[in-house]
């Protein structure tokens, strides 16, 4: 049954047909209300006052620190599909300066008849901001960003969607992969502050595709990072179709109007040379409109698997067979659909051990009315939908969620959830001349109570959580190296936000950077068991992927609560090797190198 204000798109999407034809859609045309005048969406609108006495757990410091990026989505009333889905952000230490720099993906203006989409202005395109963090002797942290795009050599072409980070040639310098509508780009870090476009040389340019989320991960344990790219829809501006609500209002189409585009898996043959191994890996057989990607060892067999979140189609859980091939076991594992058998509009995703039982659980963000889905892993790669029992499903129902992460915002040792929200269907009550494209929503913070249930603490999280925006990508990481997780958010058609965490510092923490000796890079996929003095063990994972179209801080940050005792750390490297370190210092970052047993201590907070 249809509902008013349905989080789903205008009726007539594929979900209603018995014959599963993705293009079965009831549309009709009237005249579009928007003319040809470019109209920038309102940046942020309608602040509502924070409750009296609210403490500032998070504060937006974007403008104050120089992170002055405004996303351009190109909305003009033509409702071209890519306008509703961008963009992402990356946290990466591109200059090995010991702090996280930021890359923000830019959209642009889409114009039919011009083949490749192009940005509205010559100086538009993704921006790279260098973090010039200063830590004074008294411990004061001065956070400053400098736009270094011009000198970086990164020229992002076309209409950007997402970004992934990883060291593709093991030279110790992190590289960038940009996804977009029309083409993708690989930028190799030259190690001198500049990047080179190696898209064609590496074989990863993927023309005429619509890539969104991507992930670097070493699936075959050969020491080289492979690449999975989630592609969304087969869509061109020339074949764009107009979609309307029953009342006559035009809006963006549901994804079922178009056919999904197959995702790609590229195997790294070494030194950053990739080969399209999608078919050879067995990933050609099934695909959907992919928006989110998360990699982890879901069944504990030592091989990294790939979860793909699809928009209103069954998700895929590509289980690594250990021989270069994958098998999709999503349906049997209970993660293809929600517990009621519904293919939700999965967009953002993250894997993490929220219940501290040693395995990787999954969270996906979805449309308003659907409620985010929590899949709880039983340790063998089989999952149960615990969305309702956990309280997450109910709390998230009013929101359309995108960027998301398991993050321990208060460092109490339990992974919480921060979701970045924004509609895909207009909030018509909010429509005005100042806000012609009303898709704004508030973000949400859910605190893990340690009992399997979550509490909505949004109202206490800070004024920034009272603001409404069209949230999309979000990257999570410790941007000021003070031991708690911060967040950079891309708002479609609006300013980026830098949410600096002000509460995590009340508890103790352990920071780890896991690097390979030969590779010299972050060992994405490495799993860490942190055992405290009281015997309790917490499992975490080094990862950059997850969220939506974004790349996270690859370091591992573990909240220790009130315990200041140095824990024991056991690392399971992607190669399968296991090593232990005793008495790893708390309240500071420590670099652990694979195989060497060496320990490198960085500066700490206390």
């Amino acid at each position: 049954m249809r509902h008013p204000s349905d989080g789903r798109e205008p009726l007539g999407s594929s979900s209603r047909t018995l014959f599963a034809a993705p293009w079965l859609l009831a549309l009709f045309a009237g005249c579009g209300a928007g003319g040809g005048q470019p109209a920038q969406q309102a940046a942020t609108a309608h602040p509502t006052p924070a409750p009296e006495g609210a403490s500032e757990w998070f504060v937006d410091r974007a403008e104050a620190t120089g992170l002055s990026f405004v996303h351009v989505n190109g909305m003009t009333g033509r409702f071209y599909q890519p306008e509703i889905s961008g963009s992402g952000v990356a946290l990466l230490d591109y200059d090995n300066g010991g702090d996280l720099d930021v890359f923000l993906v830019q959209g642009g203006t889409l114009e039919a008849g011009h083949g490749q989409p192009r940005a509205a202005r010559a100086d538009a395109g993704g921006r790279l901001y260098r973090n010039d963090l200063e830590v004074r002797p008294d411990g004061t942290r001065i956070l400053r960003f400098t736009d270094v795009t011009k000198t970086s050599g990164i020229v992002a072409r076309g209409y950007g969607q997402g970004v992934a980070t990883g060291d593709i040639d093991n030279d110790g310098w992190i590289d960038l992969y940009l996804t977009g509508f029309g083409r993708n780009q690989m930028f190799r870090n030259n190690g001198d502050g500049t990047f080179s476009d190696v898209s064609v040389r590496t074989g990863t340019d993927s023309p005429k595709t619509w890539g969104v989320s991507a992930a670097f991960v070493d699936v075959d344990r050969d020491g080289w990072l492979d690449l999975f790219v989630g592609n969304y829809l087969t869509y061109t501006l020339e074949t764009h179709t107009r979609c309307f609500m029953e009342s006559g209002q035009e809006d963006y189409c549901a994804p079922g109007r178009y056919t999904p585009q197959r995702s790609r898996f590229y195997r790294n043959r070494g030194h950053g040379q990739f080969v399209d191994a999608t078919a050879a890996a067995g990933m050609d057989r099934e695909f959907g409109p992919a928006l989110g990607v998360s990699t982890a060892d879901f069944n504990g067999d030592g091989w990294i698997d790939i979860f793909v979140a699809n928009d209103q189609k069954e998700n895929q859980l590509w289980m690594n067979r250990g021989n270069g091939t994958f098998e999709n076991r999503a349906l049997g594992a209970g993660v293809a659909l929600d517990g009621a058998g519904v293919a939700k509009a999965d967009m953002g995703v993250d894997a993490g051990d929220f219940d501290n039982d040693g395995d990787e659980d999954l969270i996906t963000t979805v449309l308003t009315r659907e409620g985010s889905t929590l899949y709880v892993n039983d340790g063998t790669g089989r999952f149960e939908d615990a969305s309702l029992a956990s309280g997450i499903g109910i709390a998230s129902r009013p929101h359309t969620g995108w960027g998301v992460a398991w993050m321990d915002f208060d460092n109490d040792g339990w992974l919480d959830l921060l979701t970045v929200n924004g509609l895909v269907k207009q909030d018509l009550d909010a429509r005005s001349a100042a806000n012609p494209f009303p898709y704004q929503q508030r973000n949400q913070l859910l605190r893990n109570m340690g009992t399997g249930r979550f509490e909505d603490v949004t109202e206490r999280a800070g004024k920034v959580f009272t603001l409404k925006a069209v949230g999309r990508g979000a990257a999570f990481g410790d941007i000021d190296n003070d031991g708690d997780t911060d967040v950079v958010i891309v708002n479609s058609g609006g300013p980026a936000r830098l949410l600096v965490n002000g509460i995590g510092g009340r508890n103790h923490w352990l920071g780890l950077r896991l690097v390979g000796t030969e590779a010299g890079r972050d060992m994405l996929g490495a799993r860490v068991a942190v055992t405290r003095a009281d015997g309790r063990t917490v499992w975490r994972r080094a990862r950059a992927d997850g969220s939506y179209a974004s790349a996270n801080d690859p370091r591992v940050l573990v909240g220790l609560g009130t315990s200041a005792d140095a824990p024991r750390v056991r690392v399971i490297w992607p190669s399968g090797r296991i090593e232990e370190w005793a008495n790893v210092a708390v309240d500071r970052y420590t670099t652990l190198e694979e195989g060497s047993g060496r320990r490198t201590e960085g500066s700490g907070r206390r």
């Binding site: 008013p4 018995l18 859609l25 009831a26 309307f244």
Partner: protein, 462 residues
Amino acid sequence: MRNRHLVGLTALSWMTLVLASGCRPSKDDRVPRPEVQAAPANTVDQTVQPVSMPDLSRLSEPVAKQVRERFATLDQAITRKVPPEELGRAYGDVGVILMATEYPVPAEASFRHAQALSRTDPRWPYYLGQFYLGRGERAKASEAFERALKLRPNDLPTLVRLGETYLDGSRTEDAERVFTQALALQPRLAAALAGLGRAVLARGNATRAVEYLERALTIEPEATSLHYPLAMAYRSLGELTKADAHLKQRGRGEPTVVDPLMQEYSGLLESALAYQNRGVEAMQSGDFAGAAVHFRRGLEIEPKNAALGHSLATALYQLGQTDAAVRQFEEVLRWSPKHTRALFSLGVILESQGRDEEAVARFGAAVKYEPDYVEARMGLAHCLQLVGRLDASLPHYRHVVKVDPRRVDAWIDAANVLMALGRYQEARDWLVAARTTHADQPEIVSLQENVEAILRRGVKVP
């Protein structure tokens, strides 16, 4: 091959209801909006704002007219100082149309006024519950449905919706209670059995869940969505074979509840798209004649609406009125020459009539305008073979598998073409490529074995 394609294409053709069509001039949105007079203060819900007619400029004219008419009725009711029940009805009718046209703030206000004025009318709390459901506000939806149930304790739709709302709020015991109440009234209500199944499954009782869900499916086999929770229940019990069997049968069919209020709501809007949607629903339930009525009504509101035209043509084809269907598809193409779905559908019909060259032209036009239209390419490739242009069909199969390597039929058909042309080496290479995606597909395996055997015998390539 012809029959297989014809069946496949026919089965698919009537589902293609996608379209584009032309523009109409935009409306002047500065139509004066009459304020609704405030009702007597002691009879409305004092906690909500008065209801005034919103800006209707974004609505199509027939729908805007409906809204204005209901507001006019409300205005008159206030002016005439009608009894509270009648005024409540007027507010409620306004609420329904505002809900349907997606003006949530005044819709909610209208329903709350209606509820306050017509305290014994269960319709308004029921619609309010549906309103809150639509906004994801489950707690408020539960409260509203509970009020409706108090006024009409034996109303099956209210019981089922309340049960579902409880379920979605993890109030499994309350859900069981109301579903049980529904079953007492109607023991064969599959929706209630399904709800009970989900409730007990949520509480960990997979055995009882299986009983309820199996019963529901026995009563209503079309409720194919129930196969999934049933599969999960069997999985919990370790019965993996049964779980797999049910997973394979899962579909989108929901258990039905006759809900007159929501049927009235669904049939409310006089817009072209609303009729399109009703027609699509009718098509899905096999009522092609009913679907045609809806599509025609939609075309009365919006003549030259290509989506409706295409839908109508499809319904006519399903009714066996092929000539009429062809004329309607051609009409759509006069409105919208690049309408790829209409081109495809015409291609299907022409092929079925043996007019293969004409079918080639139509399919070819469809892929010209939409190169990745896989079904049209398959149709084109097939018809090219029928007119003896085997070689010309191959690029289209290649394109299909590039866009969607899952298309086993494209791999197989192209292999057969290559073998028919005597290009055995190419056929083998093609089948090797096919097996990277479809390693164990029997027909592909068999074809590869055949061509390998031919090559071993040293058959000369013409």
